[in-house]
Amino acid sequence: MSKTTAKLMQGNEACTIGALAAGLEFYGGYPITPSTEIAEICAEELPKVGGKFIQMEDEIGSIAACIGASLAGKKAMTATSGPGFSLMQECIGYAALTEVPIVIINVQRMGPSTGMPTSLGQGDLMQARWGTHGDHPVIALAPGNVKECFELTLRAFDLAETYRVPVIVLSDEVIGHMREKVVLPDPSEIHPLRRAAPATRAGYKPYAADPDGGVPLMAPFGEGYRWHVTGLFHDESGKPTNKGEIADTLLRRLARKVDKNADILADCFSESLDDCDVAVISFGSSAMSALSAVRRARAEGVKAGMLRLRTVWPFPEAIVDKVASRVKRVIVPEMNLGQLALEVERVVGCRAPVTRIGKVNGELFHPDEIYASIMENK
């Protein structure tokens, strides 16, 4: 018999419960507003289930410890916000190149720099994709309500294991601190992925995989595989190399892991899109205000529709392309000066004008602001 649980909870709490549901065994983090509740709950809950929590000396150490724990076979996560996310960038690239699964929750706040630590921002969208140096694969999911904090964090762990990439949950201050009633599924209905170890130890080639986006099986440290992990470019056996041909093959395989699965990864919420003239495309907390504006416009007979991206990276091009092919206008509200808009404009091209509504005062959009834009030139 299915047994669901209804609870009033905060977005940060829902992220943590999602991580525990996914089988979280290790948390390494550093206190930072507005993500700290995640660390606090992990510190309290992980020992109860035999897991480990450590407060590291900084965010660089936090992500490094998580990568180490993941290599030791544990499901590992860290959580942070802008300044800490900046410090983690080098090791995000390390995890991408060495193909170590980890989950990073970034509860975005108003930046740059220390900015307004307790205020809302969505200015880390591009950083989530391009923050570390060099081309690299990454997946980023953006919850738009508290329930999705649970669902997308749970999914983030599965995706990290499936593709062996760092997965970023791109939350924000409003989503993280907002409280909503959430009905959680029966734990027996949750089947998180467990990492499968390679069959043979002798001759284990840790990076041997189909060049077209293949994902090799990963051996845990301490089990006799005795393999080498390096942030240098490496061949199939993990041996460092300066050979351009091997580097080229490796980097293209890493990119393909995500690119060729873009359709599987794409995940959006839509409402009233099928017949709309004006499409509002947004993510995270901005999309909550946007949906309210769209519904009001609809009620007044304006054909407005809503597309909210739950997967932001890889950018769900096919879905946005379909919208762009039939609307007269696109509006992109976001808590930055136009980052999502850059991607939307790239896909929409000349087919429809794209209106950017960037907001950087740290305050959540009032639906009226977006409603007003919908009603202009309707």
Binding site: K7, E25, P47
Partner: protein, 286 residues
């Protein structure tokens, strides 16, 4: 003594180090200490950062992790906490450990986490061709200290001790039997251990400072050091500017991952009726 070569990944050789470099000597000492203790190769994990010395791990036949610059101890902390039953060793250099990685070094020491850290100190950044490091003595030359180093250098062993390491020792690539002995003892210490291995860099440190080639550098290291036991009987003027070698500190204290496991046991006893489950969170944020 087993077959030393059996601890190496022979397909990863030859190594990249310059002729006369001391890193091979220190790496050999580590392998010999591991061999003496008959450690299970499958339960040893060796982690390094970036730099000449950090390339050592690629040649060693264990689970090995060549991390980002300065971060070896942070990665190693994750491994050790995740799997305390593993013997976790960090191989690092003076720049990697005391400059970019200095914060992780003092905090690993403070936690007394069961990691054995071998710091190969050649007093210079070798991989990037001879810049001064936090371990370059004042007045010495480097490519970024063309008029002599203005900065003071760390005493790494004093730093480790004051930060909380429970085993601290120093030896050199000249005093190899001592180095092996000290690494062996460090590997037996349950808590955080530091062995500083003074090693020669003839290519940069030797040339920039006109010390000479490998032999002259080894003599320079020999002349500059005094065993801590011998030092006890020497007058202060004979110890001026000398570096002490030998076991410098050894004190048993609770090891971090063991203490964390004890915490888990205590929490789980308290929550023996804890239905755990996925949604048993105490909701402390309410």
């Amino acid at each position: 003594m087993g077959d030393t070569l059996s601890y190496f990944r022979q397909d990863m050789l030859p190594h990249i180090w310059c002729p006369g470099c001391g890193h091979g000597t220190a790496t050999g000492a580590l392998v010999r200490a591991i061999d003496r203790l008959h450690l299970d190769k499958n339960k040893v994990c060796i982690v390094s950062g970036i730099g000449c010395s950090s390339r050592a791990v690629g040649y060693l036949d264990f689970d090995t992790l060549h991390t980002a610059h300065g971060r070896a101890l942070a990665f190693a902390t994750g491994i050790k906490l995740a799997r305390p039953e593993l013997k976790v060793i960090v191989m690092t250099g003076d720049g990697d450990c005391t400059a970019i990685g200095g914060n992780h070094f003092i905090h690993a020491a403070r936690r007394n986490i069961g990691i054995t850290t071998i710091v190969m100190n050649n007093n210079i950044y070798g991989m990037t061709s001879g810049q001064y490091s936090p371990m370059t003595p004042k007045g010495f030359f480097g490519t970024t200290a063309p008029y002599g180093n203005v900065e003071r250098n760390f005493d790494l062993c004093e730093l480790a001790k004051s930060a909380g390491a429970t085993y601290v020792a120093r030896a050199t690539s000249y005093h190899v039997p001592l180095l092996i002995d000290l690494i062996e003892k460090a590997l037996l210490n349950p808590g955080f251990s530091v062995v500083e291995a003074l090693v020669q860099c003839p290519t940069y440190m030797g040339r920039k400072n006109k010390i000479g080639g490998p032999v002259e550098m080894l003599n320079w290291i020999k002349e500059g050091t005094v065993n801590v036991k011998a030092a006890a009987a020497l007058p202060p003027e004979k110890l001026k500017d000398k570096i002490l070698i030998g076991e410098l500190y050894n004190k048993q204290e609770g090891e971090y991952t063991a203490d964390y496991d004890a915490l888990i046991a205590r929490v789980q006893r308290k929550y023996d009726k804890f239905q755990g489950g996925l949604y048993g969170c105490a909701s402390n944020s309410d």
